[in-house]
Amino acid sequence: MGQAYSTIAFDASKCDGCGECMKACAGAKFESDDVRRSLIQIMPKAAAATGVAAKGAFELALCRQCGDPKCVTVCPAGALGKDGATGVIDWDASKCVDCLLCTIGCSYAGIALDEYTGRVSKCDTCDGKPACVPACPTGALRHVTTARIYNEVGGWEDLFAPGLAGCQGCNTELLMRHTLRRVGPDTVLATPPGCVPGMGSVGFNGTTGTKVPVFHPLLTNTAAMLAGVKRQYERVGRKVTAMAIAGDGGASDVGFQSLSGAAERGERILFMVVDNEGYMNTGMQRSSCTPYGAWTSTTPVGAHTRGKTQDAKNLPLIMVNHRCAYVATASTAYMEDLYAKLDKALEASEHGFAYLHVYSPCTTGWRFQSAMNIEVARKAVESNFVTLWEYTPETGLSFSRPVDRPLPVVDYLKAMGRFRHLSPEQIEHIQNKVEENLRFVQKIAEKEHG
């Protein structure tokens, strides 16, 4: 288990270089008004040295309180260490031998020589109340307590076996492990044909990949089977969560009737769709959730074809129209948002049908390097290709993470090999569809709230 961290995040697009953060830091830490003493340093971007006052023209030198801190690794004296509770990297002056190796180890200029003291110094997030963050007039700085999730769930039991047979960097495995941690052991888990059982959730020849009862429904009947399980436990007065972790293909295509029927009847189950936009475990074929233009093995790119010719089915919006007890979209790039939605979905599944649609980039089928998974997921949201929202019949639809300045969708598309062949016209089509979809969801959100 990796260690928790809390850190200060910087949004360059909001920073106009006023320097208030540096003043606040120098004041708080050293009772000095010399911004050179600040542990947070805002600097003009090297490549954009002109136009210094423009937002987006600055970069940051600051300790990230890394999860896998290289400064700690390189320090020969053991003077640096990551605090298990807060995740802050502490410097112990009494152990430091002033070799400065840590300053070389850090890629972010986060630990540096303080010329006044002749020793290194670094940000310690002011015991969880960093002075720089409230000082920033534009909101470019945020104190990010990603640590909350790690600290809360890190100790919870991982209900999947170690060593599931996922592809390298598989987002779905990440999602499965986090989700089941939250949902807990009093669960019956359905993993219909797709990547999830392919990874070994339902084992081979009598083995199992989970610590909860798990079954391999048909691709077509997951929601119905789960409904039967849940109803019988309700009948005998036992509290058992009935949950599916299903792929997009079965849910949106051949299993849709069962899904729709169960939602209409208000079956009290939690149905999570892991949307990797295709039938990925069987060799990357298209599903009705595959986006327009994408290469798949059944929508190939050749002399006569340029990937999928239809837009994706918007399954979560279709589920909204079933008036489910809860519907939400989520992304592993926004874990706190995902956890909050899991909590609500679990609660809703005790009185109605709860549906969670999670975008899950597929390193293998989407053609990108496995280390880039969360980056791809984040760009999908930042470009509004994927919108994060939630719905209940009582509160209507609302965005949980609206994007103020969306990236052009091409920034998202070019992160993946499956879109490499796109023509400018195809990219324009996708950009238009992204905007159209966004307006559509926005209208629903306004209407629901109006």
Binding site: P185, D186, T187, V188, P197, V202, G203, F204, N205, G206, T207, T208, G209, T210, K211, V212, P213, V214, F215, H216, P217, L218, T220, N221, A223, A224, M225, L226, A227, G228, V229, K230, R231, Q232, Y233, R235, V236, V240, Q257, S258, S260, G261, A262, E264, R265
Partner: protein
């Protein structure tokens, strides 16, 4: 030997408390289900099963039956809901026919593979295509290699009694297989007869404790992976798969004994005696015989009685249990028969004959005696199989005593 000759009337002395009433086959099936106290019924209406699920709905609505009823969006989900329920410990029931059975084929195959003791009435129907909503056995015959037990009923009373017995059979530890009680669409589904309805307490005593998922469960208190992937080359995968299959076959063979035991117990408790596997009717000194299945048997028996009165040495063999095929019982029934006519209400496309005829050919081979046998196909799509038609069957079967059988089936109710 697992054959029973039904030639004595039921005696009041042996009879448990019952209530006489008039009802249709579909209604009788629903009343039987209520007596068996399932936890969950999932339903989707389809002709000619519809009045059965309507009756179930009204029994539950009136509080005469305590079950969770799931009005699913189609037969595929009907069976899937019940599988989930059974895996959580529920006693489960549904009914279907024709296109509905075809639509549930995928979960249907799985029910027997998971050894789930579901009970499902097939209100048999012909089709699909040419379209027909009327009776015939083609639907049930089409799924005969699916690992389900199939029993066919002759009368409304037999529908009621067999349906209750089916639950006990399905849950028997030596069996653990799903059971179809087949009741002829139109003839039994809508045909009203006098029946005797057993008292609930007596049925409770007969049924004993519910025992559904001792072997396979989705329960956080006993976590297990249900239906993991098996097979493939290398390792013990194929052996594991073969062990499952052999277990299913063993369950089917055990069912022949358990069906007989349950019918005997039922007869003792309720005074209703039915042949569990094969009924031998006026067969003792018969030179030749005809074979029937389901509701056609009544008209056939009348024809046999009339032929007997005219001095013909003819008898009748009724198949009650079609799956597993009652090989030993049928061998016994055929012990002295020298010619055989087999009447099917469906076709075996590959063999140009009826399915029951085709199955019987295997028994004749195992019997080690060559008996001329003729396939008759009639009663398709709701056509009547009258006593007059059975006289034709009797006549053509008698002719086999002196001439060989035709490879072509005799099409009853057909324009040539």
């Amino acid at each position: 030997m697992s054959t029973t000759t039904i030639d004595t009337p039921n005696t009041d002395a042996a009879r448990a408390t019952t209530k006489a009433m008039l009802c249709e086959g579909n209604e009788a099936a629903a009343l039987a289900v209520a007596l068996a106290r399932p936890d969950m019924v999932a339903v989707y209406p389809i002709t000619p099963q519809t009045s059965l699920v309507e009756k179930l709905a009204s029994l539950i609505a009136e509080g005469r039956m305590d079950a969770d009823i799931v009005d699913a969006e189609g037969e595929h989900s009907v069976l899937s809901v019940l599988q989930g329920g059974a895996l959580a410990g529920a006693r489960t029931y549904t009914a279907t026919c024709g296109p509905g059975l075809a639509f549930m084929f995928e979960p249907y195959l799985r029910t027997s593979g998971m050894r789930l003791p579901l009970v499902m009435t097939i209100v048999t129907r012909d089709g699909i295509t040419p379209q027909s909503v009327w009776g015939g056995h083609q639907d049930a015959m089409t799924v005969r290699e699916s690992g389900w037990i199939q029993m066919y009923c002759e009368t409304v009373q037999e529908v009621l009694d067999t349906t209750v017995m089916a639950f006990k059979l399905a849950e028997h530890h030596d069996v653990m297989l799903p059971v179809n009680v087949c009741l002829d669409g139109n003839y039994l589904s809508y045909g009203a007869s006098r029946i005797e309805l057993p008292e609930q307490a007596e049925v409770d005593a007969f049924m004993g404790a519910k025992d559904v998922n001792w072997h396979v469960a989705l329960d956080p208190q006993r976590p297990m992976a249900v239906d993991p992937l098996t097979g493939g080359s290398g390792g013990n995968g194929p052996e594991t798969f073969a062990r499952y299959r052999r277990g299913q076959c063993r369950g089917m063979q055990s069912a022949l004994r358990v069906i007989t035991e349950i019918h005997e117990e039922w007869g003792q408790r309720f005074g209703h005696h039915f042949a569990p596997l094969v009924e031998e009717y006026r067969l003792d000194d018969a030179e030749y015989a005809i074979m029937t299945l389901g509701s056609m048997t009544g008209a056939a028996k009348d024809a046999i009685d009339e032929a007997r009165a005219a001095g013909e040495k003819v008898g009748l063999i009724k198949i009650k249990t079609f799956s597993p095929f009652p090989v030993a019982a049928l061998k016994h029934a055929l012990r002295s028969v020298r010619a055989l006519g087999v009447v099917d209400r469906s076709v075996a496309f590959r063999w140009n004959c009826g399915p029951m005829f085709q199955e019987t050919l295997g028994v004749l081979y195992r019997l080690g005696r060559h008996i001329p046998a003729q396939s008759f196909i009639g009663g398709l799509a709701g056509a009547d199989l009258t006593t007059a038609i059975f006289h034709r069957v009797i006549d053509e079967t008698r002719a086999l005593l002196t001439r060989p059988a035709s490879d072509e089936p005799v099409w009853l109710n057909a324009k040539d």
